[in-house]
């Protein structure tokens, strides 16, 4: 009882989530982003080509002009967004919670306290596995909108993060 104190908290002195320094995603993950980008662009280019091969009568000169004008804009658009998106993503593990930041136009930050984590999963995509990367998925009881996915983490580190989180959850129970 003697050790019990109950002083007023100065809310301005609390640790600030907005001042946390985020760890960027693994540099190898950039390769994954680029490969995904190439695949998408290839599909976008291939579809009209294949179509025009089988049904050439559908493609007038005007349509080709529109496709030729729109596609490069779309390519530039998604390329900048993927690259910027990669650069803007970051995560941080604090003592009591995990943070993830993303978004190009809007900066989104999600914070999940460890004592609200339901379970943790590791996910490896095809390309990611080839590069030795993994995705950490953190689930809460708040539904899919409050789940967290951190892509592009080194497999070993992801394993460690999972262990850390499991330890934190265990401690809560």
């Amino acid at each position: 009882m003697e050790n019990f104190t109950n002083e007023t908290i100065d809310t301005t002195q609390l640790p600030k989530f907005e001042e946390v320094i985020f760890t960027p995603l693994h540099s190898k993950y950039f390769t994954v982003v680029v490969i995904n980008l190439v695949i998408i662009i290839a599909i976008l280019m291939l579809v009209p080509t294949v179509f025009s091969f089988f049904r050439p009568e559908l493609f007038s000169g005007r349509l080709w002009l529109i496709i030729g004008a729109i596609l490069p804009v779309v390519f530039i658009w998604i390329t900048t967004f993927s690259i910027l998106g990669y650069k803007r993503k970051g995560f941080a593990f604090r003592e009591h919670d995990v943070l993830y930041k993303s978004g190009v136009i809007a900066t989104n930050t999600i914070v999940i306290p460890y004592n609200r984590v339901q379970h943790v999963a590791l996910h490896e995509g095809l390309i990611s596995r080839y590069l030795g990367l993994a995705k950490v998925e953190i689930f809460t009881a708040g539904g899919s909108s409050s789940d967290l996915e951190i892509p592009g983490i080194d497999k070993e580190q992801a394993e460690k993060i999972k262990q850390l989180l499991m330890g934190k959850i265990q401690k809560q129970l």
């Binding site: 600030k16 900066t107 999600i110 914070v111 809460t140 409050s146």
Partner: protein, 504 residues
């Protein structure tokens, strides 16, 4: 009180009918596309085969129901203190529920059960929110006896609670020893029926109008003589009058439908306090009953519109923690009409104190501009674009545009004015809505995760959005004072992380 429950008991013999109807319902639901096809091709189908197959199906279901009845037994094992249910014709299932784990025993009666004169007994345990033991057909006397035995045993084995001794029942027939905590009167239900569900009413109105209008047009097309001869006679005044009368009648009909719907759904709404949780039961034809455990409550939504405010009633919607996302919508418990005092009493019971508002946050005026842009600017732009480039005939309806702008503008304005976030030491209250003003009340300890979002051009303006995720749904507040929001987020995170308060 002489039935020996230690021996396996069957359900009521008439209960075969209940099982029969339930099976029929289930198969009917599963095979409705096939039934529909047959119904449409009724004339082509050989009648004898149809009758024969129908007879075959009915006998098959009858036999299945009878076998189900034969194989369904329940018993009380006083040695192991268990309630045992055996069921299944080929796949046998034996459910054993420990008596001291039984949280609640409900006696319900659906429409079919009411017709046949039997009751349903559901056993609810602490383990999951699924009903683990259900007896579909049991006489009322036996049900009450079994219930008291089930709960009686619980009493002896675990703890003595004076509240539990009384042999209360959720159905209206038995005498309630427990005083109802809240009873919604018929008058309140009438008030609710008159004042709520305007959205649905307006949709109904529109649907009705459009069909009538279409028929009217067809009528005009078919009968050109009518147009020529009588067209001149139709006085401007008369048209206006009949339209007004028509609208009046429609509103009247919709209100009547609304009242009937409300009474059908919520007739005899009784809330009983039991063992720290609330027991709700309601319904005109089929009585529904649910349990509400205060610790499972995530969000309480209290809403009222202008009329309801004048009539001094409010609606409460209580969202509990759900295990699956599919259940989310169905697990919200509605208390359709209660006075402010009763509402406060319920809140007091759920939260141990009445939520007060505290610090108020307003959204930035840009939110209003943005929503006006989305709901007025874009549609108007599309209207003008279609009119000038594709089909200029839609400009004939241009007179509707100002009406639309005024209506939507007013809705957006009131939405903006009512959109507030109140932050208090123990509660977060989000107020929203144009006509029905909703107040979503949560405790900071129920927060599962926090998302923040800020557009890059809003950084200098210091405005941003926050979403508080809970197990009962999300609460979002857009374009508020970002510095204040962040400060509170830090505080909430601190509170969540330093305490091990139970969110469920």
């Amino acid at each position: 009180m002489s039935t020996d429950f230690s021996l396996p008991q069957r359900q009521s013999v008439v209960g075969i009918w209940v099982l029969f109807f339930y099976s029929l319902q289930r198969y009917g639901r599963a095979f409705w596309p096939i039934i529909l096809i047959y119904a449409f091709r009724f004339n082509e189908v050989n009648k004898i085969y149809l009758v024969l197959s129908l007879v075959a199906v009915f006998t098959a279901i009858g036999i299945i129901s009878y076998l189900k009845y034969l194989n369904f037994t329940f018993a009380l094992d006083s040695e192991n203190k268990e309630f045992i249910i055996n069921e299944g014709i080929i796949n046998k299932t034996k459910t054993a529920i420990q008596l001291n784990k039984i949280q609640q025993v409900n006696i319900n009666q659906s429409f079919i059960q009411r017709l046949i004169g039997v009751y349903e007994l559901n056993v609810d345990t602490a383990g999951s929110n699924k009903k683990e033991g259900a007896i579909k057909a049991i006489s009322h006397k036996l049900a009450l006896e079994l219930k008291s035995r089930l709960l009686d045993n619980d009493l002896k084995s675990s703890y003595i609670n004076s509240e539990l001794i009384s042999e209360d029942d959720s159905t209206a027939e038995s005498v309630d020893v427990l005083q109802p905590f809240l009873k919604i009167s018929f008058l309140s239900l009438l008030k609710v029926g008159i004042t709520s569900n305007y959205g649905r009413s307006i949709a109904l109105l529109l649907l009705f109008f459009s069909t009538i209008y279409e028929n009217f047009l067809k009528f005009g097309d078919d009968d050109d003589v009518y147009k020529e001869k009588f067209g001149d006679y139709i006085d401007q005044n008369l048209v206006l009058q009949s339209i007004l009368l028509f609208i009046f009648w429609l509103i009247f009909i919709v209100l009547i439908v609304n009242i009937f719907r409300t009474i059908y759904k919520y007739y005899n709404y009784v809330i009983v306090r039991q063992n720290g949780s609330l027991l709700l039961s309601f319904g005109l034809i089929s009585t529904k009953s649910t349990i509400l455990k205060p610790e499972k409550v995530q969000i309480v939504v209290s809403s009222r519109n202008f009329f309801q405010k004048k009539m001094e009633i409010l609606e409460l919607k209580i969202k509990q923690a759900t295990s699956g996302e599919k259940e989310q919508s169905s697990s919200a418990i509605e208390i359709p009409g209660c006075s402010e005092a009763e509402g406060n009493e319920i809140l007091n019971l759920l939260y141990q104190k009445i939520p007060t508002k505290g610090l108020m946050l307003k959204p930035n005026w840009r939110k209003l501009i943005f929503s006006i842009f989305l709901t007025i600017g874009l549609p108007l732009f599309a209207f003008i674009a279609i009119g000038s480039y594709i089909d200029s005939s839609i400009f004939d309806y241009a007179f509707l545009a100002p009406i639309y702008v005024i209506c939507i503008g007013l809705i957006q304005y009131f939405k903006f004015v009512n959109n507030r976030l109140f932050i208090n030491k123990d509660f977060i209250i989000k107020q929203s809505g144009a006509w029905d003003v909703k107040k979503e009340i949560i405790k900071p300890s129920k927060i599962q995760a926090v998302s923040t979002s800020q557009l890059f051009w809003h950084k200098k303006l210091n405005i941003g959005s926050v979403i508080l995720h809970t197990a009962g749904g999300d609460i979002a507040f857009q374009l508020g004072d970002y510095i204040v929001l962040k400060q509170y987020i830090n505080k909430w995170l601190y509170e969540i992380e330093t305490s091990d308060s139970n969110w469920m």
